[in-house]
Point group: C2
Chain length 154, copies 2
């Protein structure tokens, strides 16, 4: 018997509808920017995953993999700032709280914290010292949380 | 009068349907991998954009920006290989042709070409020499095309 998950059917029909809609109206600059922004966060989250599992003791510490993931996050983090231009304000599908636009200085400072702590994490991870790497990971995670708590609709 | 684009309505209703579907069934490992893969290509494409426009003379050559974009592509390119694991075979929503799975060696060689040419592009871009940067950019673009022609459904 052929079994198809309902979610797969919905996804397929929506993909088709969105594809037709996309043909009718090409994505705006703001929509493209949002897609780029979400892609960057996705790349960061993917690489955060194994570091988080190691830091929490859910999987064994692998110094080489941890350092590779940390390096990747540190190189992608500085790309984020470009993905919040003024002309992306109010774009549909974003989880960004509107307060960001009236607290830009604070938002940018929080973003800089994340970039700085990510760089420190990559440096710590290179030592291969688990305690140092773990501490630097949680410090980086705290900078994510500080910004998400204030500026992200979950 | 409130004007709403039909595409926005479709997108909103689909987002809702997909969100409900997502609650019912969390994304599979393969779906998560596909999302990561698409994010990486999106980050690469975004940074390719201005280099392409400069190489084609559509916008003025800005050596500093060109070098920054090239460096970003070179750091993201090696992340791609992880996003084609065997357990992502056949995942819905992918543009990957099934032939890849029976030509894995050729696919991996084409991916390595892209990684190598991206690294060479970043090195060339650092010189600030437009002719060298442009040549290296087109060589990188050719490695994209070689793989897409054979393994991507456009």
């Amino acid at each position: 018997m052929l079994r198809i998950r309902p979610s797969a059917l919905i996804a397929a029909s929506c993909a088709l509808a969105l594809s037709l809609a996309a043909q009718a109206a090409p994505p705006t600059k703001a929509e493209q920017t949002l897609k780029y922004r979400k892609s960057l966060y996705q790349v960061i989250a993917w690489n955060f995953g194994p570091m988080s599992a190691m830091a929490q003791g859910k999987i064994p510490y692998d110094a080489k993999e941890f350092a590779m993931r940390a390096e990747r996050v540190a190189t992608v983090a500085p790309m984020l700032s470009e993905s919040f231009p003024a002309d992306s304000k109010g774009v549909a599908g974003s989880e960004l709280k509107p307060e960001m636009w009236t607290n830009r200085g604070d938002f940018d400072a929080k973003m800089k914290d994340f970039v700085d702590k990510s760089a420190a994490l990559a440096t710590a991870a290179k030592t291969g010292d688990f305690a140092k790497s773990k501490a630097a990971f949680f410090e980086t995670g705290n900078t994510c949380k500080a910004c998400h708590d204030k500026y992200k609709n979950d």
